[in-house]
């Protein structure tokens, strides 16, 4: 279904979550991630819980839905709030990131992390149970030995599907600062975790050790000028990874070169005229997300006002730049006052690498077509939930005469922000987190 010659017509598919006047903080969704074949969709929230949805109707000809819907598959409490007694600091249970491992056996594995601890969860299905034991009956009660006159062979009988999640590894105590990213290597054996100043490399089987591969902490903290904001492994080259910074740069590192990758192999930075700077320049250039394209030739970065596509072979400037919400430039003062200028938006590639999506305010999200150069603003709202109805494009008016149907910048709701979203790895299905609700959109055909 991916890559139809024309534009994508997005339709509402599903919405999960409740409508509440006062949103419970724990319900705020903090990450969304499809697994490698898009069959499973995981969400993490501020309360440390993970909910996994599974696409139904796969290959089932009797399924009446237009295409598979996502329904709850499993849910579990991944992280609990903790208290660091030494520093008198609380450690939030909020799930910062979830990353799936590629499936190699009937079980599904995912990594989930909060600010300090990464956990490997195993999610298994059980649809059979052993019955016919000799020493106890089927409900587990011990049988009276004197009543046993014959032996029977226990056998497996079908039972109602039970999904179980268990923590298999806990990777703790390796980060002084808050973990912002985790990324599984293409070798499916190692993964990296990044905090503000350091990046560590782990082996999935080893929890008591991890290699530090990047350390940008200066000897004197007063000299600190930039922090790591995101990191990701290359999708196919197991030796390459990138990390972005608060100064708007991306560094590509090659682990073959040396053990400590402080020296980058490539530095991606858009040249800027030093006289063209303002107080806000650095803040809005901070990259909040970096993602490799599926084909591994490009990467996309998100800073406060734009989305940029970079060719890995060219570090001098991005090959494409898309404005997300340029009208906010004239509101930077108030966005700084209410802290919105520090919001960290994510971005996503379509399965065929042709489209990009990212979130904005007022529950708006932006879609960019790299080929036609067209873009559209859509809204995650419960207003139009009729199936198969194409979403109406939204428009923001930045000043001057406001046309009908347009919304003025001053009327945007800055509390309804779309920070986290995910695009199905192959099909045109979008999962968008709008505060405490999860929206699913799919293309019309």
């Amino acid at each position: 279904m991916a890559g139809n010659g024309g534009e994508i017509q997005w339709c509402f598919s599903q919405v999960k979550g409740t409508i509440e006047e006062d949103i419970t903080e724990a319900d705020i969704i903090s990450c969304v991630e499809f697994n490698n074949n898009g069959e499973l969709l995981a969400t993490g929230d501020k309360g440390g819980r993970v909910v996994i949805f599974q696409r139904d109707g796969k290959g089932n000809p009797q399924y009446s839905g237009a295409r598979g819907e996502y329904n709850v598959y499993s849910t579990f409490q991944s992280h609990e709030p903790e208290f660091d007694y030494l520093k008198s600091l609380e450690i939030e249970e909020k799930i910062n990131k979830i990353r799936w491992l590629k499936r190699s056996n009937p079980a599904n594995f995912l990594l989930s992390t909060n600010d300090k601890t990464i956990k490997l969860w195993k999610v298994t299905e059980r649809d059979k149970r052993p019955e016919g034991y000799n020493l106890k009956d089927d409900s587990g009660i011990l049988r009276d030995p004197s009543s046993i006159t014959t032996l029977r062979v226990p056998s497996f009988k079908p039972m109602e599907l039970l999904i179980e999640a268990s923590p298999r590894r806990i990777f703790a105590n390796a980060h002084t600062y808050h973990i912002n990213s985790i990324s599984v290597n293409s070798d499916q054996e190692t993964y990296l975790s990044a905090d503000d100043l350091r990046i560590n490399l782990w082996h999935l089987e080893v929890t008591n050790q991890s290699f530090n591969i990047v350390d940008i902490k200066p000897a004197n903290m007063e000299e600190l000028t930039e922090v790591i904001t995101a990191a990701e492994f290359h999708p196919t080259e197991c030796n390459l990874f990138v990390y972005s910074s608060s100064k708007g740069t991306i560094r590509l590192c090659d682990m073959r070169e040396q053990a400590l990758c402080d020296k980058h192999a490539k530095l991606f930075e858009e040249p800027e005229d030093p006289t063209n700077r303002s107080f806000f320049s650095e803040i809005i250039s901070s990259i909040s997300d970096v993602k490799f394209s599926h084909n591994g030739r490009y990467m996309v970065t998100r800073d406060y006002l734009s989305v940029k596509v970079w060719d890995l072979h060219m570090d001098s400037k991005p090959i494409e730049t898309f404005q997300v919400h340029e009208f906010l430039r004239s509101k930077l003062c108030s966005l700084y006052e209410n802290d919105c200028i520090f919001d960290k938006f994510e971005c996503a590639w379509s399965g065929n690498d042709r489209h990009l999506m990212t979130g904005s305010y007022n529950n708006f999200f932006r879609m960019f077509d790299r080929d036609t150069k067209r873009d559209v603003t859509l809204e995650a709202s419960r207003e139009n939930t009729k199936p198969k109805t194409v979403l109406k494009p939204r428009k923001v008016c930045s000043g001057g005469k406001r046309k009908k149907e347009e919304i003025s910048v001053d009327c945007l709701d800055f509390n309804r922000k779309i920070l986290h979203s995910a695009w199905h790895p192959q099909e045109n299905i979008l999962a968008v987190a709008a505060t405490n609700n999860l929206y699913l959109f799919s293309s019309k055909d």
Partner: protein, 138 residues
């Protein structure tokens, strides 16, 4: 966004094209860097007018915030210095820094029972799980 703010119509020279629906919008016309900076500087001036920033760099408050979610003090002297810094009328602090310090000083030494987050394991299921009004019935 506070509603009291009066945003005068800022003459943004790089206003998005208000074209008709039929004309494909050229949104990839990246605005002239000069114009962008002008707008940013206008905003900077606004901020300065309100808070009188001394340092041009915006980085320090941001980095401090990220790295020190709650400061530690070496000893009571350190603590008192921070407190004094906060209350010094001669050198008023920017609101950001004030907030950071306030967070770290506090009124009392927190104990686990007082810290908001120390409720024990949340067995409350996520609301995404309940099918209620969420799911679309087809």
């Amino acid at each position: 966004m506070s509603e009291e703010e009066q945003f005068g119509s800022t003459k943004s020279e790089n206003q998005e094209n208000m074209d008709d629906e039929n004309v494909p919008r050229e949104t990839f016309k990246v605005p002239e860097p000069k114009n962008q900076v002008d707008i940013e500087r206008e905003q900077e001036a606004k901020l300065k007018a309100k808070y009188g920033l001394k340092k041009p760099g915006g980085g320090s408050a941001l980095l401090q915030k990220r790295l020190q979610k709650g400061a530690k003090y070496f000893d009571s002297g350190d603590y008192n210095m921070a407190k004094a810094k906060m209350n010094n009328p001669k050198h008023p602090l920017a609101p950001k820094e004030k907030l950071l310090l306030q967070e770290s000083i506090g009124g009392a030494i927190p104990t686990p029972s007082e810290v908001e987050h120390m409720r024990r394991p949340s067995q409350i299921a996520s609301k995404l799980v309940s099918e209620g009004e969420g799911a679309l019935l087809q």
